[in-house]
């Protein structure tokens, strides 16, 4: 039941396995004092929430004594069955990180109903252990952060950032109780200059290996680094305007825990000019588009040069041109007429015949 407490089983051996041991004690510390059952071997003591085995002395190698502890724990077990991290490097200044999570609550399977009413009543009242929220610690200056899944954006997330780190708090679409699954994708961009270094002609990119969330165990971790186009082919992924595909470095690891969050580095060679290739490709593309447009506008595509509609079109163009010419001439005539009239006015006012005659002459000249 949803309201039940979560009980877990821990299995180990009470003896250190592969070596001869002179003296040994094992203490198992449990989160809660309630212990359902545990294996009793010699010298077993329980103190509160701690079980002590031993001390044992002078054990031969490969001595084996199984112990099983059945205890209560209401911690959520966030297990990523598979995490694929895709890191795409663009020399235009961005590192795009995309992380695809397949998530499961690895704790005890929940039986029976899930009641929203009980869930709303409060997490601590009934000993619930659902995964409600996760915090991803992203590198500083992460930008364009998104959180979505196959069917769209998930609106329950918060982002804080300062100069030291960026923190993304996410809630799954629904509370993940024991045995339930969910899947989502986190993506963010990082400024390239924080991660890319150059050393004697080679470029070096330094990134974190594991998952940015603490308290998450990853069963299969796959890290893919997509280098810019123009290097040795390992495998290929196509992005905007790629022709040959990008080289990819794939790293795989099973059973990764936060302690595996080491830095790793990828060395590669890349000619800076190669990054200009894509814009250069666009230029002739658009050029040809426009040329095609111009050609289309000017080429005469009619099949029959004698068809009525074609002739009509030609005549129409001719008529338009003539009309325009006539209009132009009329306009010029009007202007000249205006000038003449103005000079006549001047004449009637000032009586300066010479000016009027000059104007007349000019008008006659231009009318011809």
């Amino acid at each position: 039941m949803q309201a039940d407490i979560e009980l877990l089983v821990f299995q180990d051996t009470a003896h250190y396995l592969s070596h001869a041991v002179k003296a040994q004690t094992i203490s198992v510390k449990l989160p809660d004092a309630r212990i359902e059952s545990y294996t009793r071997v010699d010298n077993t003591k329980t103190v509160g929430s701690e079980i002590k085995y031993g001390p044992y002395e002078n054990l031969p190698p490969f001595s084996y004594s199984p112990i099983v502890v059945h205890f209560e724990s209401n911690q959520p077990f966030a297990v990523a069955e598979e995490l694929v991290r895709e890191i795409e490097i663009s020399h235009w200044g961005n590192v795009q990180v995309t992380e695809h999570y397949k998530f499961v609550h690895g704790g005890a399977q929940s039986k029976g109903e899930f009641s929203r009413l009980d869930y709303q009543a409060g997490p601590h009242v009934r000993g619930q252990y659902a995964i409600r929220r996760l915090v991803a610690k992203l590198p500083p200056r992460a930008h364009s952060v998104y959180y979505r899944d196959e069917i769209g954006n998930i609106s329950t997330s918060n982002l804080w950032s300062d100069s030291k780190k960026t923190e993304l708090e996410i809630e799954p679409r629904y509370p993940v109780i024991g045995g339930w699954k969910t899947a989502f994708t986190i993506g963010y961009g990082l400024p390239l200059h924080d991660f890319l270094f150059q050393s004697d002609g080679k470029r070096l990119i330094g990134l974190t290996f594991g998952c940015p969330m603490n308290e998450v165990v990853i069963n299969t971790l796959i890290v893919k680094v997509f280098l810019p186009e123009g290097s040795r082919d390992i495998s290929t992924k196509f992005s905007h305007l790629d022709i040959a595909g990008r080289p990819v470095v794939v790293l795989e690891k099973t059973n990764a825990v936060p302690e595996h969050n080491q830095k790793f580095q990828v060395y590669y060679k890349f000619n800076s000019l190669a990054m200009l290739m894509e814009p250069l490709m666009l230029i002739p593309g658009f050029f040809f588009l426009f040329v095609a447009g111009i050609v289309c506008m000017h080429v005469d595509l009619s099949i029959s040069k004698s068809s009525a509609s074609y002739l009509a079109k030609l005549q129409w163009d001719e008529v338009q041109a003539t009309i325009q010419q006539i209009q132009h001439i009329i306009n010029r005539g009007l202007v000249i007429h205006d000038k003449l009239e103005a000079s006549l006015c001047d004449l009637s006012r000032t009586g300066d015949i010479q000016a009027c005659k000059a104007a007349r002459k000019a008008a006659d000249g231009s009318l011809k």
């Binding site: 069917i151 202007v335 205006d338």
Partner: protein, 743 residues
């Protein structure tokens, strides 16, 4: 002395920046040069202005539809688009033949659905082609983005077609106005915002294109245009069931032309070519098949086709016979024979079942009350309701008043083309009145006719204004000239009032049009951009609260149920469950099997034990109900419940509507009918709701959607158990328990 100032005046506007020192001669030369190079021919200027206006309108039509992406996200909206998206995804992944032969076992369990034969593939193929083209050009787009932006893209294309159409029926100005009007008309935007990936998105483009090409064909009598319109018709048939409108409007139009004595060879060529080629092409769509020759809805077109032949024959005979009397007799005999043969053929066809009778949807268009009485499943859809006046006003705004004015102008200058647009406008307005969703079909006609009104009015007004303006303009070239002003003044005096009136009217038109633009933008951003999957509300502090419960539930289904689980829900959510939840559904929005839907309706309205038997027989694993009682979301299953009862009762008479009503009143509180309080839908919606306090100061179990305290607070489930409820209780999913062990 006179020459100089003039040349300087000409320079003044264009050339001051180029010639820093005003030297008369060189500046004169320069000015001539620059003027000639700068000055385009009037034709080119006009072309430049026209093209730039069209480009702006094109961009505007696209970006005004992006509100939904800005407000929410790049996602598919509503119900049907999810099916379209799912099939498009399938098409791009598996290729066309797989898509065409797809038998979908995930819907209509256990019947399944033959997808290729029961859908209009135009939209999916279009989106897939765009996707493949972009992929070929090395743009790494996701198919979802292509689907989301398909409708705005086609809306932009529609503006171009509207321009051409307006140009064809009136003039260039009307075309430009029509393009601008249709770009932002809410009636069209409602179905073509980004994410509204539905058939109508491309179909309106195809509809208008077909009409434009047909009118062009009628105007020119050209076989090429007529063929083009046949292909336009083919695209329309492949995209939307609304093609029936074309295949009935065009014959009607031809008939009107015949009756009004406008029969011509142009019409003969245009209609025959369009009808025959269009019909043959349409038969290639499997969903349509041979309906063009077998269904009653398409018989009008065929009848008119034969009528055209009779007309042509009569024309020929008239040409041969010089005697009018003989021709009159011949005419009478031929017409009688033709009509008789047609009637007999139709009667025989209908009687033998070769010609199928009209479908219910068609009837409900002609008779608005038909669906209510006979087909509850059509009447239950809100977009099939008759249109309210307010929604006309909402969707058309000033176009509603410009429409009659445009009709007036059309009648004043009657031609084949204007007759067509008038008929298109009037018939589609009637249909828009019958069904809300058909406002969409009327929108292009309304925009075009209004554009004629606007364009013609403004043209007249500007002519008036410019007639006066010419005087100061010619005067200005000369400078201040008192003599000329006075000489022209005598002419102007005759109409000073007209001039001012024209200016005032121009301002009025400008005001109205800007109001229209404001209204359209407001409607688009506020009313038509909601995806309806994600609900948004204003919180107490004015902040935006998002209810993403649908996707929460669908994603839960997708992740936490067995892959072969069958989900029963009311048919509204079928497409979404298959597309987002990736699970098999019993019924979905393709309401092809009324009995199946009625079975689900019956299960929902039965007592739990009876419902359990039905659900067992349908292999149901999960039941999904939508419940708005916590959030006050009113379009939930309890409010739709009476339709389930009606549809269920339509097939299974055990379900009787009065059992769920009290004195004809539908209620869920203490006074509700006992059957209502114990039916499956009630139980599933209100399970454990009685323990929840939804609103401060109200008793527990207060239903906020209906504003009452529920009548049955102690709901016990025997055969089902709660599997999941979303954070705002909007979607509740129950698991059907396996049968008890017998021993």
């Amino acid at each position: 002395m006179v020459g100089k100032p003039i040349s300087e005046h000409v320079n003044g506007g264009t050339n001051t920046s180029k010639t820093t020192s005003p030297k008369p001669f060189s500046s004169d030369l320069l000015s001539n040069l620059s003027f000639k190079t700068l000055k385009l021919k009037t034709k080119q200027q006009e072309l430049l202005i026209r093209v730039s206006i069209l480009c702006l309108v094109y961009v505007l039509a696209f970006i005004t539809r992006l509100f939904s992406v800005l407000r929410y996200e790049s996602m598919i909206h509503e119900f049907d688009p999810y099916f379209n998206y799912r099939t498009t995804l399938y098409l791009t992944e598996k290729g066309f033949y797989e898509f065409w032969n797809w038998f979908d076992s995930e819907s209509w369990y256990p019947l399944g659905r033959i997808i290729g034969g029961t859908l209009y593939p135009g939209l999916m193929v279009t989106a897939a082609l765009i996707y493949w083209a972009l992929r070929f050009l090395r743009f790494a787009v996701h198919i979802r983005e292509v689907c989301v932006l398909t409708a705005p893209f086609f809306a932009s294309n529609t503006t171009i077609v509207a321009y051409l159409f307006g140009k064809e029926i009136w003039d260039t100005g009307a075309g430009l106005v029509a393009a601008a009007l249709i770009a932002i008309c809410p009636g069209y935007i409602s179905r073509s915002v980004a994410g509204s990936y539905d058939n109508e998105g491309v179909a309106i483009f195809a509809l208008l294109l077909t009409f434009y090409l047909f009118v062009k064909a009628v105007n020119t009598g050209s076989l090429a245009w007529s063929l083009a319109s046949a292909f336009g018709y083919f695209y329309m048939v492949s995209a939307w069931g609304g093609y029936v409108f074309i295949i009935n409007l065009v014959p009607l139009y031809v008939l009107v032309l015949l009756i009004t004595g406008r029969y011509s060879m142009r019409l003969y060529v245009a209609y025959n070519c369009m009808y025959i080629v269009g019909m043959l092409l349409a038969m290639q769509i499997r969903f349509v098949g041979f309906q063009h020759v077998q269904s009653g809805e398409h018989m009008a077109a065929m009848g008119v086709f034969f009528l055209m032949q009779v007309f042509y024959f009569l024309d020929w005979v008239k040409h041969l016979l010089s005697d009018t009397k003989m021709f009159q007799a011949f005419l009478r005999i031929t017409v009688t024979c033709a009509v008789g043969v047609g009637a007999v053929a139709l009667g025989l066809g209908t009687a033998s079942g070769y010609i199928s009778p009209w479908t219910g949807r068609f009837y409900s268009l002609l008779d608005p009350t038909y669906a209510k009485d006979h087909i509850p499943i059509i009447a239950s859809v809100s977009e099939h309701q008759p249109t309210a006046w307010s929604s006309f006003m909402f969707d058309f705004h000033i176009l509603l008043f410009l429409f009659p004015a445009g009709l007036y102008f059309c009648f004043k200058r009657l031609s084949d083309a204007t007759i067509f647009i008038v008929m298109y406008g009037l018939t589609s307005m009637y249909f828009a009145g019958v069904m809300v969703r058909l406002i969409l079909v009327a929108t292009p006609a309304v925009c075009l006719i209004s554009a004629i009104a606007v364009s013609a009015t403004i043209k007249n007004l500007t002519q008036l204004v410019r007639a006066k303006d010419k005087v100061p303009q010619t005067g200005s070239t000369k400078g201040a000239s008192s003599a000329k002003g006075s000489s022209k003044g005598s002419i102007d005096q005759s109409q000073p009032f007209q001039k001012n009136g024209a200016i005032a009217l121009l301002f009025g038109a400008f005001y109205l049009l800007s109001k229209y633009a404001t209204h359209c933008t407001w409607v688009t951003s506020e009313a038509y951009s909601s995806p309806s999957i994600v609900l948004a509300a204003r919180g107490a502090h004015g902040n935006r609260v998002i209810f993403d419960d649908y996707r929460e539930a669908y994603f839960w289904l997708r992740q936490n149920t067995p892959p072969d689980a069958k989900v029963m829900s009311w048919w509204d959510y079928g497409y979404q469950i298959t597309a987002m939840g990736n699970r098999t559904v019993i019924v979905d929005n393709n309401t092809w099997n009324n009995t199946h839907i009625a079975t689900v309706g019956r299960a929902m309205s039965s007592y739990e034990d009876e419902a359990y038997d039905i659900m067992r027989s349908l292999d149901v694993d999960y039941v999904l109900v939508v419940f708005g009682g916590v959030t006050g979301y009113s379009s939930d299953d309890i409010n739709k419940f009476l339709w389930m009862v009606r549809i269920g009762g339509g097939v299974f008479p055990v379900i009787k509507e009065p059992d769920y009503l009290v004195n004809g009143e539908y209620r869920v509180d203490k006074g509700a009918a006992p059957k209502m309080l114990n039916c499956l839908m009630y139980k599933l919606s209100y399970y454990r709701f009685g323990e929840l306090t939804t609103e401060y100061g109200k008793p527990p179990g207060y239903d906020r959607a209906r504003g009452v305290e529920i009548g049955n607070k102690d709901v016990k489930l025997e055969y089902l158990e709660e599997a999941f409820t979303t954070s705002n209780w909007i979607v509740r999913i129950y698991k059907v328990k396996p049968p008890n062990n017998r021993w």
